[in-house]
């Protein structure tokens, strides 16, 4: 992709200007509604380390292996939306012509659902342009850190038996069945699934969330990922369990999981990169 610093800078600067005016407008709207604006409701997570089951499919000695658990570090404060992006947030982007209308007919104070990875990225770009800040999807690691005690990762089939690949499939199917989760298709008002210990709302409810992490096939040796081949046409989706969806899928029910429980809905929340604007300038070598 070509990168034109002058043009890009111009866009960001313009966006920053627009952003000032716009956030004023948003404030007006929210004061009319008497509620806070989701865009500005962020949870700031303090840096820390945690053990994280990696996303993707793993091979050890040429056979399927459980996801390796790797120590991960979030080394700077992480600002993540307290709530998922709501339908009314998303509709503003649609009104601006920067986002495609979502498949969900729901409006207002419910999570935006019926949105693909591509839609989520379009929204992040639009919000960044409007605010002059850097908004983006969380990585799988960031999402897991924010999800805290509600993080589940993949439904595991365990170690593959070289002599019997079916054992793992059956174990995984039984593990998933044992969770006993029933379909729960109707998105609910934001906050309906409560807060986790970190004050982040609606984690592992009935809206799964896009992340910026690509699906990968990886080989494991001595507990570490030795080599990995990514397919960025498919991204990690997080929620009640972890799954993987093609970027253009808006309805998880028919988008993946040949066997097993599919996501009820697809939505997203964003993180804000600290000093996004200054960072962008720095990256361009303009400061």
């Amino acid at each position: 992709m070509s990168f034109d610093p002058v043009f890009t800078f111009g866009t960001i600067a313009a966006a920053a200007l627009i952003g000032l005016g716009v956030s004023h407008a948003i404030d007006d709207t929210s004061s009319q509604l008497g509620g806070p604006d989701a865009v500005n409701e962020l949870v700031t997570l303090t840096p820390g380390s945690f053990d994280h089951a990696q996303p993707g499919e793993f091979l050890k000695d040429n056979h399927p292996a459980p996801a390796p658990v790797v120590g991960e570090t979030i080394d700077a404060p992480l600002e993540i939306m307290k709530f998922q992006v709501t339908a009314s947030d998303y509709d503003r982007c649609v009104s601006d012509g920067a986002c495609k209308p979502a498949d969900s007919r729901l409006a207002g104070n419910v999570p935006a659902t019926g949105v693909s990875f591509i839609d989520a990225q379009a929204y992040a770009n639009w919000l960044s342009a409007r605010t002059g800040e850097t908004w983006r999807l969380p990585t799988d690691v960031e999402w897991a850190y924010a999800a805290g005690e509600r993080f589940r990762a993949d439904i595991e089939g365990g170690e593959g038996d070289p002599a019997d690949p079916a054992k793992r499939w059956l174990t995984q199917y039984r593990n998933e069945t044992a969770l006993g989760r029933k379909p729960d298709p109707e998105p609910r008002a934001r906050g309906s699934f409560g807060f986790n210990a970190k004050g982040v709302a609606d984690i592992a409810g009935n809206v799964w969330e896009w992340t910026s992490t690509c699906y990968a096939h990886a080989t494991v040796s001595s507990g570490r990922v030795a080599r990995s081949i990514s397919n960025c046409g498919v991204h990690v989706v997080e929620g009640f369990h972890r799954t993987y969806m093609s970027n253009f899928v808006r309805d998880g029910k028919s988008g993946g999981c040949a066997v097993g429980t599919p996501p009820d809905n697809l939505g997203f929340r964003l993180v804000r990169d600290r000093g996004g604007f200054a960072q962008a300038l720095r990256r361009l070598g303009l400061t």
Binding site: P64, D164, A166, K167, P183, I229, V259
Partner: protein, 367 residues
């Protein structure tokens, strides 16, 4: 143009007229039948089948069944879409009834006064009176008993057929099931050698036509009668909104997945009362398949996919050779994945590397 009420009423009258014309009591055979042993069978909900002998013990008998019709709302997919269902014995499909060739199947059909519509039953296995439909029309608060002789071995659909426009509407509201008439000496392969099954599963496939509102969302109706006009409009498009096994998308998956073991032989009876379908067991086959469902014909062998004509039931016999999760689908894959026609088998046992193995796991393409 008839109003809905008039349409409902006129169909009932038509059916009643048929019933009157056809209701010559079967006295001639009654004396012979009176001396036969009787067996009362309690039906079980699909995909399971009541206990039965594969090879008949002794001579013909009268096998008694009772089914109670239940009109009730049922959820047919994960989105909570509601069908104003009409059911035989509370399930979609209605239960599978098993008898042997030469037996008499005697059904008592109960239409409780909590229902709102007249119903009957047309047995494709039966001869005469519109398959019994002309002799079994019952209004809410009535019951009727029909007996027919099982003269032809095979799997056969039964369905509600209360006259005119009521017929397809009742069928696509859930009123169908199947009868299996086994040869007295059991099933045989194409050379006449006996074959047996360790387990039997009955899969009824249904096509549903749920009306949508202006926003494209499936509508809910208080009662079956309220949906009639809208539903018929969708039916006339001939494109179902749902194609499902066992009444609900996903009903034979997860904890309800069908079970089997490597080395076990299963018989899958598959019925579709209204529309063609093409079952396929992903990763398996049909060892012996009675596509048309009639056991006097030799079974086809080694089938990959088999065709079930709308308005018929077929049977497929298969011995599992490999463990794992199998998907059993209508191999119009749009109907399987998007409309709901997918079931699962969980098969335990030992893997056979001779039949299949991954020689090399996915890795970087060798340059």
């Amino acid at each position: 143009m008839l109003t809905r009420r008039e349409a409902l009423l006129s169909s009932v009258l038509t059916a009643a007229a048929i019933a009157t014309i056809g209701s010559a009591p079967a006295m001639a055979a009654a004396k012979d039948v009176a001396g036969l042993p009787r067996e009362k069978v309690t039906l079980v909900a699909p995909p399971f089948v009541h206990a039965h002998d594969q090879v008949a013990k002794g001579g013909p008998r009268v096998v008694e069944f009772t089914m109670t019709i239940e009109e009730k709302p049922m959820v047919i997919d994960a989105d909570g879409t509601q069908l104003n269902a009409m059911t035989y014995n509370g399930s979609i499909p209605g239960p599978l009834m098993v008898v042997h060739e030469g037996d008499y199947l005697e059904l008592t059909l109960v239409n409780p006064d909590t229902n709102t519509l007249a119903h009957n039953i047309d047995f494709h296995a039966a001869t005469g009176a519109l398959g019994g439909g002309g002799l079994t029309l019952v209004n809410p608060g009535e019951q009727v008993t029909l007996r027919f002789k099982a003269t032809r071995p095979g799997t056969f659909v039964y369905h509600c057929a209360p006259g005119g426009a009521m017929i397809p509407w009742h069928v696509v509201s859930g009123m169908s099931g199947a009868v299996m008439v086994l040869p007295r000496d059991g099933l045989k392969d194409e050379k006449g050698k006996p074959v047996r099954y360790d387990r039997i599963y009955y899969i009824g496939e249904n096509d549903f036509y749920i009306p949508r509102d202006e926003q494209g969302k499936f509508k809910k109706y208080d009662s079956a009668g309220d949906n009639y006009d809208d539903t018929v409009k969708v039916m006339r498009g001939l494109i179902p909104t749902h194609v499902v096994f066992n009444g609900t998308a996903g009903s034979l998956t997860g904890e309800n997945a069908m079970k089997a073991k490597v080395g076990e032989t299963i018989l899958i009876v598959h019925s579709q009362a209204n529309r063609d379908t093409r079952p396929h067991l992903i990763g398996g086959h049909g060892d012996f398949v009675w596509e048309g469902g009639k056991f006097a014909n030799p079974p086809a062998k080694d089938m990959e996919t088999w065709f079930i004509r709308g308005g018929s039931a077929g049977a497929a016999l298969y011995t599992f050779r490999q463990p794992g999760i199998y998907a059993y689908v209508n191999h119009n894959l749009i109907e399987a994945v998007e409309l709901g026609a997918t079931a699962h088998f969980m098969v335990d046992g030992s893997w056979d590397d001779d039949l299949m193995m991954q020689v090399e796991a996915p890795k970087v393409i060798a340059s």
